[in-house]
């Protein structure tokens, strides 16, 4: 195991857990979670379906009580409504319909928890514009969410997550249901946001490949416990095969690019019987 780079400087860890266990519906989802994600890291959260990846986010967001151990988010205990966290839930865009414009949805990320009738201020509108421009969604800001493609909707969701200047971005399966081009563009956008804003990014993903260019490390949920390692230690055939319970191969190209693949072969591909 290599030592993780201290990208955070003297800032508190973005997410720190000490012997944390989490219980949902009477069942222990996972336990013995001890790790520290430094501020400024880009972390993939991987593991098979039902391993508790989304649960990890809900813990950080204060939506789920900590059953045991200690959790610190950006140097403080988790609490619901933490404005320093930007969140893009799973299947997010599919749930949004024809009844909201992109711009209004992003604005809600800034002012949506405010009671009373005060109208959106010019300064707030400017921040919404800035977020929409940053993700490349400004051109279709006046469109309804339902009128957009999956990639466009995902950009708007990210704009909503960054509009309040989040220091920690939690994205749950942001690449699901996107085609290759849109996957790459979203990953590129995440990389840019990371560089420009020094934001910590955690991404739940079932496929590591499209994210490998930006990931510095990964949390993998294996045998009921979260583990945290640099990405190069995680992308190993033996570990991934164990993790997913199916043969996984790892390929390193001459250019140094890393990718995983299913490690089985059709005995006679394309052959005529």
């Amino acid at each position: 195991m290599t030592v993780l780079p201290a990208t955070g400087g003297d800032r508190p860890a973005a997410l720190e857990m000490v012997d944390v266990s989490v219980v949902r519906g009477g069942r222990t989802v996972w336990s013995e979670g001890t790790f520290s994600v430094a501020a400024g890291a880009v972390v993939g959260v991987i593991g098979p379906n039902g391993a508790g990846k989304t649960t990890l986010f809900q813990l950080a967001l204060g939506l789920l009580p900590v059953a045991g151990g200690r959790v610190d988010v950006l140097g403080a205990p988790p609490r619901r409504g933490n404005r320093r966290i930007g969140y893009v839930p799973q299947n997010y865009t599919a749930a949004l319909g024809h009844a909201i414009r992109c711009r209004d949805l992003v604005t809600l990320g800034l002012t949506g928890s405010r009671f009373g009738l005060r109208p959106t201020s010019a300064a707030e509108r400017a921040r919404v514009d800035e977020a929409l421009r940053r993700v490349g969604a400004y051109d279709y800001a006046e469109s309804r969410m339902s009128e957009l493609s999956g990639g466009q909707q995902q950009r708007v969701a990210i704009a909503q997550a960054i509009v309040d200047d989040a220091e920690l971005l939690l994205l749950d399966e942001p690449l699901a249901n996107l085609d290759l081009r849109n996957q790459q563009e979203i990953v590129q956008l995440l990389g840019e946001l990371h560089r420009e804003r020094d934001v910590t990014i955690m991404v739940v993903a079932h496929d590591l490949n499209p994210l490998l260019p930006v990931l510095s490390e990964a949390i993998y949920l294996l045998d009921g416990h979260p583990h945290h390692d640099p990405i190069t230690d995680v992308v190993q055939e033996e570990l991934l095969t164990h993790l997913y319970g199916t043969p996984v191969g790892v390929v390193r190209t001459a250019q140094g690019d890393l990718f995983t693949r299913a490690a089985w072969r059709d005995p006679a591909p394309g052959s005529q019987r």
Partner: protein, 292 residues
């Protein structure tokens, strides 16, 4: 033909509009239109249309039960609508769970309504006025209650508007951002129940959809901006109520029929004009994104 012979233009319709019962109907109908128009956007975005429909039916045993025990019909309606709304609201947030619970409560309520109507030996016209509304029989007392209900709806919405929009269109993120999603859901269902209590007496349990959902559905075809949807659907609901009363004064037919017909007519017209544009696949036109 003989049945239709009674339907004819009443040349004294302006006089009829000026009569006290019509004045009551205009004021009462307008109060309902404002509340219903404001809530419509949320009924649609919260996928509560079925719950709204069901609440009206849940009010039915409230109304007949009130007749049975000699209480005001509005009180019976309000108690059953608010109670039924809270019950539905407390059931799972998943739409599928809610639909099953709502349908079951709805069936039970309708059965109770029939039972109470039978026990109270309510005559057919009383039952008919609950099912189809009786806007022309609104009393002074009812107007006061309507005024209070509409004021409560408008006042509460003014405070809750933004978080309620957030919780309605985007509940997962709203919850993470600290919006009290569940409490807002219960508050909303109480406002809806108060509105339905009024609306049942305007268009009846069977036609309520046309006042609570249709104007907002029409407005949503025109714009997706919540504030504008609210304004347009209030305007449409007011126009339907006023137009319906004028037409009813002109030809002496039930206002419910005209109110619902006008609301549906607006929906059809907007659907025909705007619908085509909206249904066109937007992808090729909008995918003009350039990589940075």
């Amino acid at each position: 033909m003989s049945a239709l012979a009674g339907v004819q233009f009443q040349s004294n319709w302006l006089e009829i509009l000026g009569s006290p019962f019509m004045q009551h109907a205009l004021i009462g109908g307008s109060l309902v239109a404002v509340a219903a128009g404001l809530l419509g956007y949320f009924v649609i975005t919260r996928q509560n249309a079925f719950a709204a429909h069901a609440l009206a039916h849940i009010g039915f045993p409230g109304a007949t039960g009130a007749i049975l025990v000699g209480a005001p019909v509005t009180l019976g309606l309000a108690v059953f609508c608010v109670g039924g709304g809270l019950l539905i609201g407390l059931f799972g947030r998943k739409v599928a769970d809610r639909e099953m619970a709502t349908g079951t409560i709805l069936a039970l309520a309708t059965a109770l309504g029939v039972l109470f109507a039978s026990l109270a030996s309510a005559n057919a016209s009383t039952t008919t006025s609950v099912l189809f509304g009786n806007l022309l029989a609104i009393s002074d007392d009812q107007l006061l209650v309507y005024g209070a209900f509409t004021a409560a709806v408008v006042g509460t919405l003014a405070v809750l508007a933004r978080p309620l929009v957030f919780a309605s269109v985007d509940p997962a993120v709203a919850e993470a951002r600290g919006v009290p999603v569940r409490a807002l859901g219960l508050a909303f269902v109480v406002l809806l129940a108060l509105t339905i209590t009024m609306a049942v007496q305007v268009v009846g349990t069977l036609l309520l959809f046309a006042l609570v959902v249709t104007p907002a559905a029409t407005a949503l075809r025109i714009t997706a901006r919540p504030g504008r949807v609210a304004l347009i659907s209030v305007a449409l609901a007011l126009a339907a109520v006023w137009g319906g009363l004028v037409l009813s004064a002109m030809v002496d037919l039930p206002p419910s029929f005209f109110i619902v017909s006008l609301a549906v007519l607006a929906w059809v017209v907007v659907l025909a004009v705007v619908g085509r544009r909206r249904n066109r696949p937007a992808e090729p036109l909008l995918d003009t994104h350039h990589p940075h």
